[in-house]
């Protein structure tokens, strides 16, 4: 119904000039005209070769009338897209005044968005290769405010020149002009280490720079085998799409035996098959992931700029520069996925306002401040980001009650039972399958792979193999439960609160205590029986909520109370005190409401 005046930073409708006559002389800027051609070139680079290939295929197949379709079609489509893009370009204007950043856009539905500059939390300058060739870049401005229901909290300019992008990055987060408003804010940002400020005056401070050896951490993910599978499946798919031409060509060149010969050769040495195929998956996964990491993290530099921002630069083909106002960097996440953790690696993510993207996954991808690096280095980087001598990550964490472990063991037990039932069902089905069925299955696999391996291996698996599988699954479930319990923890640092959880991916989150904007305590029926609760601090930063999961209710409340003194206090009763568990009935809320006044 009503809202504080400092809210939605969005003008109702109509031009800005009426509301801010003082800004009238600041000229509106356009997107760069080349951006249309950059977009067209990128689309064309993908579309035209595809159309040419299509034409050739149709000619080869003898479908002459159809052969004249792909190329003109592609060109017509390209023209249409380029035309629409041209309209968009003409309609879009932006400007940055002393007070606000304003963007007008829209061909049919005109839109005008205006945000106060002090609301700008992050500026993301990205230049994919095809855009960089034209000397352009895209700029995404994060405001840390959801505008409208489900609306984005970002303003995006696609594309401006690299110089314009650099100007925007520098200007939008530069509070020097507006510093008058909050000298205390500036001191806040500098934190307790006053000497860091003198250092800052000298220029940018480098927090981290890529050590190429870190790229070796890139394949250390649980997905490596999967990515390898994907890479090999893509190759095999291409092979079967072309009717096996590729395989015939390769085997002809290398003088390999025919698929049938190889198949019988391999099946005779079954013990070698499984490790070898795993190795093949592993190698292809490692190659793909390392290449991806090189693309993402090449030229990686993390610096603290003199204007009070933290700036991330990275990228080989798509170069990215992300600036986050340091005051809005409310904490960090030390992210340790299982495989990376077991080889002593971790990466650092930001807990900041203005980095949120469309969904949780994109948000966390955008928040990444470092590639996988040695865990000691990651901890040092986190401490440097938080400007703390004694890192909040080194705070001893309190373990959660034993009942949290029991809960996890119960879950593991249920999973084990389900796994055992599934294994039994599979073993039963395995026993039922007859020769003709296997023949079909092998022929089906032959469609995809030149040498069918999976089905023959499955066929020769003895019945006790399923039992082994069930037992292994059960052991893994309980081991996971134990690790998951060990991962739980919460603690307090003079300026930060710390929570840790997770087994598959262990996240240690530090969040500035001053950034906590509320508490949310939840209990499921199961947690109620176990005397546990999830105590979550809500915040504007990061994912919006950071929870101490399965903490003892009293323990968690005491922690929350200590983290933000005074907030929870009025609503707590101590066990020792005369506990009036039931609140006084108030049938008439009016009476209560007026009393509070």
């Amino acid at each position: 119904m009503t809202s504080p005046d400092d809210l939605p930073p969005r003008a109702p409708d109509g031009p800005a000039d009426t509301r801010a006559p003082a800004d009238a002389e600041v000229p509106w800027q356009r997107l760069h005209p080349l951006s249309v051609w950059a977009g067209a070139a990128a689309t064309g680079a993908a579309l035209v070769p595809a159309a040419i290939v299509g034409t050739i295929v149709l000619v080869v197949m003898g479908q002459y009338p159809w052969a004249f379709l792909p190329l003109p079609g592609a060109i017509a489509f390209l023209t249409l897209v380029t035309y629409l893009d041209l309209m968009r370009l003409r309609a879009t204007r932006y400007r940055v005044t002393d007070e606000r950043m304003e963007v007008r856009s829209g061909i049919v539905a005109k839109s005008y968005r205006s945000i106060p500059r002090e609301r700008v939390r992050s500026v993301d300058v990205a230049a994919p290769l095809f855009v960089r060739l034209f000397g352009l870049c895209s700029v995404t401005v994060g405001t840390g405010e959801k505008v409208g229901a489900g609306g984005s909290d970002q303003l995006q300019l696609v594309y401006v020149t690299a110089a314009q992008g650099e100007d925007l990055r520098r200007d939008l987060l530069n509070r020097r002009g507006a510093r008058r408003t909050g000298p205390e804010a500036a001191t806040d940002a500098a934190g307790p280490t006053g000497d860091a400020r003198t250092e800052e005056a000298a220029g940018e401070v480098e927090l981290a720079r890529l050590v190429p050896a870190w790229l070796a951490y890139a394949p250390a993910t649980a997905a490596t085998l999967g990515v390898g599978l994907g890479a090999i499946a893509a190759l095999l798919g291409l092979n079967s799409q072309t009717g096996g031409v590729g395989w015939d060509w390769v085997s002809g060149r290398l003088g390999l035996p025919t698929p049938e010969e190889m198949s019988s050769f391999v099946m005779a040495r079954l013990l070698a098959v499984v490790p070898l195929s795993l190795l093949a998956l592993l190698v292809s996964g490692v190659v793909v992931l390392t290449l991806a990491a090189v693309e993402t993290w090449w030229n990686y530099r993390l610096t603290r700029e003199p204007d009070g921002t933290v700036r991330l630069r990275r990228g080989l083909l798509t170069s990215v520069s992300l600036s986050v106002e340091e005051r809005r960097l409310n904490g960090v996440t030390l992210h340790e996925p299982f495989v990376l953790r077991s080889v002593g690696g971790a990466d650092v993510r930001a807990v900041a306002t203005g980095l949120s993207a469309a969904d949780e996954k994109k948000t966390s991808a955008k928040s990444r401040l470092s590639p996988g690096m040695p865990v000691a280095r990651a901890r040092a980087l986190a401490a440097a980001l938080m400007r703390e001598e004694d890192s909040p990550l080194d705070v001893p964490l309190t373990a959660h009650p034993r009942s949290a472990l029991r809960r996890r063991f119960t879950r593991a037990g249920v999973a084990t039972v389900l796994g055992a039932s599934a294994a039994a069902a599979l073993a039963w089905a395995h026993g039922l399958a007859n020769e003709t069925w296997w023949e079909h299955a092998i022929r089906a696999e032959q469609e995809f792979a030149p040498i069918p391996l999976a089905t023959p291996v499955l066929r020769t698996t003895p019945a006790w193999g399923w039992a082994v599988l069930a037992v292994a699954f059960g052991v893994a479930a309980f081991w996971y439960a134990l690790g998951s319990y060990r991962g739980l923890g919460h603690g307090l640092h003079p300026r930060y609160l710390v929570v840790r959880q997770g087994m598959a991916a262990r996240d240690t989150v530090t969040l500035e205590r001053s950034a906590v904007i509320g508490w949310r305590i939840t209990r499921s029926p199961f947690q109620r029986w176990a005397g546990l609760a999830d105590v979550a601090a809500t915040t504007a930063a990061g994912s919006g909520m950071y929870a101490a999961t399965d903490v003892g209710l009293g323990q968690g409340l005491a922690w929350a109370d200590a983290a933000v003194p005074g907030l929870l206090e009025p609503f707590l009763v101590r066990e020792g005190e005369e506990a009036d568990g039931r609140a006084p009935e108030s049938r008439e809320p009016e009476g209560g409401g007026s009393r509070d006044r």
Partner: protein
């Protein structure tokens, strides 16, 4: 941190008594709609009729049970309180939830009333903070109380400087 374990006390105020009727009506309406869904094919399609009727009976029975139990239970657990420093609510009849938001971090306060709530003279107050964790909602307040609460919250939050993040 003191050694004795603290507990949360329930917020002082209950929602309006009429909310029970509001919840009952709403639950009943949902039950009726869900029960009718399998009845329609049962009317036009003879062979599997008993099965559809059975499904309708099960859905209807469960729905009625929920309609009888839920509103009373919810009335007991839905509580709210506004102090000078914070908004405090509790809710959830199976999955319990307590929310606390300090006055200084409240961004917007809205009152809203659907047609059904209006029929019972009720309103909901929604308190939004900058967190993505979602707003705090107090549903089923007497309309005048809701307006008062919203006004009071708005006054207090407007008096607080800063952008509440």
């Amino acid at each position: 941190m003191s050694s004795d374990a603290p507990r949360l006390r329930p917020p002082h105020h209950r929602v309006d008594r009429r909310a029970v009727w509001w919840w009952t009506t709403r639950s009943l309406a949902t039950t009726v709609v869900l029960t009718v869904v399998p009845v329609v094919p049962a009317l036009i399609w003879a062979p599997p009729r008993p099965w559809f009727l059975l499904a309708a009976a099960v859905i209807g029975g469960l729905g009625l049970l929920i309609t009888v139990v839920m509103p009373q239970w919810r009335y007991r657990v839905h509580r709210w309180e506004v102090t000078d420093t914070a908004v405090y609510t509790s809710s959830g009849w199976i999955w319990q939830e307590w929310r606390v938001a300090p006055m200084s971090r409240i961004q917007t306060v809205d009152t809203a009333r659907g047609p059904l709530q209006r029929a019972f003279g009720l309103s909901s107050v929604t308190v939004t903070t900058a967190s993505a964790a979602g707003p705090i909602e107090i549903a089923g307040l007497d309309h005048t109380v809701a307006t008062e609460v919203a006004e009071r919250l708005t006054e207090t939050t407007q008096a607080t400087p800063g952008d509440a993040t």
